[in-house]
Amino acid sequence: MTEFKEDVSIVLGGAAGQGIQTVEGILTYALKSSGYHVYANKEYMSRVRGGINTTEIRVSSRRVRAFVKRIDILVPFKQGVLSWVSDRLSETTVVLGERGNVEESFLEGANLVEVPLTKLALETGSQLYINTTAAGLIVGLFHGDFGAVEEYIRKRFGSKGENVVGKNIEAAKKGYELGVKLCEEGTIRVDVERDEKVREEILLSGTEAVGIGALAGGMNFLSFYPMSPSTGVSTFAAQHAEEFGIIVEQVEDEISAINMALGAWFAGARAMVSTSGGGFALMSEALSLAGMAENPIVIHLAQRPGPATGLPTRTMQGDLNLVLYAGHGDFPRIILAPGSMEEAFYLSAEAFNLADKYQVPVIILTDQYFVDTYYNLPKPELGRIKFERHIVEAKPGYRRYELTEDGISPRAVPGYGEEVVIANGNEHDEWGDITEEAELTRKMQEKRAVKKLETIRKNAPLPRLVGNEGAKYLVVSWGSTLHVVEEALEKLGRDEAALLHFSWVYPLNPEARKFFEDKTVIVVENNITGQFADLLRKELGVEVHHRVLKYDGRPFSVEEVFDALKGVVE
């Protein structure tokens, strides 16, 4: 008998196109509806069919939000899955599936619990139902709410007709009964407590959190060129375009995408582009225009490994330097990197106020790991969303680039007021007309690159400290590594180590220095050089003592961060 307590990590593996997404959808939905905390993340290959893709689903009695290497239950849908995840298998891993899907070399050592998925699916009428059977099986192991499985199937397959819905429910039922039976027989025992509050919570992915956050912030224009792993946000926006009455346009290239969005902001829209590193590289010319013309823009960049095409479907925090330095000449920008779904929602909404207020590019930096992660969370509070327009009327004498103390000129939009608005990518006078005058050039450079930057910097929020203020070790995370570092630290359970998380990445408020005083600083980041560690030195003069880096295109696991931190602390 194999027993799992409190927190179970289930990994499903199969070929692209085998329907693992369906299983994932049913499972997370039904288990969350049953009162379990759930977390899911996937890794996939850059191909339409074949290969091996896996999904990890954690089911827990307490909130779980991070990737673990450990696999408790592995469901392989084809041969090759065990080899693909061999470094994640242990003696206690239960392989739940058909003998035919386990490679010869693993048959002896694996803890295989054979389940006749194909047979059950065929009894329902077709091998196609194998996915729903497997989903039912796992929900059965948890004695989950079968009504929720039915509900999900109705929603997902409803458009395909009553027959398809009925057959899928029947297939899931067969799986469910088998799952319950495995527990009753004592083959597998799952002991995870339910938390009634979870039923009232929502399930949200990183992609959705950015997308709905942008809509909450008043985004009404999105132009994009598809690029993994950012496309989900554009798809999300397109699917909500009619309901929200917004413009979503797939354009000819990333150059057009950002320029169109700049035009839209010039005319008063709240526009966003969503892209990845390679697409952003093409946008850097227009980023300079945004800097010079002080044209607001919100850019969502979902990072993947580079350089060039890199690993198109995998993850890395490797584009911080790109967004920090992209564009020619000096101009300020704001870089945000959400670490949780809540942060992604609130920051994506706030990004639009920031862009409008400071008239600078605001970049929301996520990555493949983050956009493809989801878990349950309490519904965000819409009361916290503020809508600040920051637009003035162009009255007679209006000057678009008026020199001001804080570096922020009042921004009018064409058609609001009787005066005209002139924006310019050339160096300009206060009215917006071209100038080559030395003194004016100096003033305009200072206004943008010094005064405005200082205004943003002093208003930048501080990072969030989790744990003991007097801790000797300060573990720093930024963006998507938040939860994995958090869980690794909990596991480490020592008072001498605290977590400092940055979701506002640039510019950094100088007051943030106080967190680092007399600490041994450990920065955890998903890239090869430690780009954020370098930024801490540059911005705050902070010395980073240890860099915990990972750069194989995969996210950190809790175990890896735990081992690394343990190595430093001991």
């Binding site: 809509l215 929200f244 009455g245 008063g268 709240r270 519904k379 007021g417 310019n424």
Partner: protein
Amino acid sequence: MNLPTGREAFEPKRPTSKDVAWCPGCGNFGIRNILISALAELGLKPSEVAIISGIGQAAKMPHYINANGYHTLHGRAIPIATGVKAANPELTVIAEGGDGDMYAEGGNHLLHAIRRNPDITVLIHDNQIYGLTKGQASPTTMIGMKTPTQPWGVFEEPFNPVALAISMNASFVARTFMGYFRESVEIIKKAIRHRGLAIVDILHPCVSFNKVNTYAWYREHTYWMDDHDPHDREAAFKRAIETDPLPLGIFYINEKPTFEESVPAYRVDKRPLWKREPKLDLVEKFFEGKKQ
């Protein structure tokens, strides 16, 4: 509001906007006059017009006319103008640039703007040479012309914007020569009034760097299409591939839905985007749906 209209309203007013950087005798002066007359005769007000330009001498136009303007990047006027119009369809939006700007750097955007069909007017100042960078060949330079960077003479096939636009079933395609003032004003008025993407290739001399295509050359090598039906695409294409003399006038008109009419944003709510607020009730509804 009672705002001034007429030519006077569009004359430059800001402190440096009278300091024009074009060479004496430049065709751009004529185009500015034509544009000011067209805007004034259409009864528009400066605050209702937005001129979006790329880079180059032609692209300096927003500084020498009193209207909303955005002087942007080389080749990018069209996507920016598309964004401006999409965000506020109440504005009359004009994208302006030279032959290098629109046909070389911005070529891809022109192609896709024809497909997208925003209700903007694209004015191309076509002098068949690069002026601001001092005399290199442009996409429309004629075969055989020698330049400092093509000392052996240009051998590339000149870009034919009119034939290209008609082949792509563009919404409005015209060509004019700025030396014909009244005719040019009428064409540009029609282009602005046209619902959909209107492309006007405006021939004009570069007095400093193009010694072949002079005022006299354009008069000698062009003619007005008097007997042409712009709704006949085949006839328009036949005219478009004529090279000497070059036909002038409206080649093609193809009424079709515009980009702004096609996006869902204006189906119910007609207000420009800057007047709108976030729909938090729909965000709330989305979250409620995420519980089940």
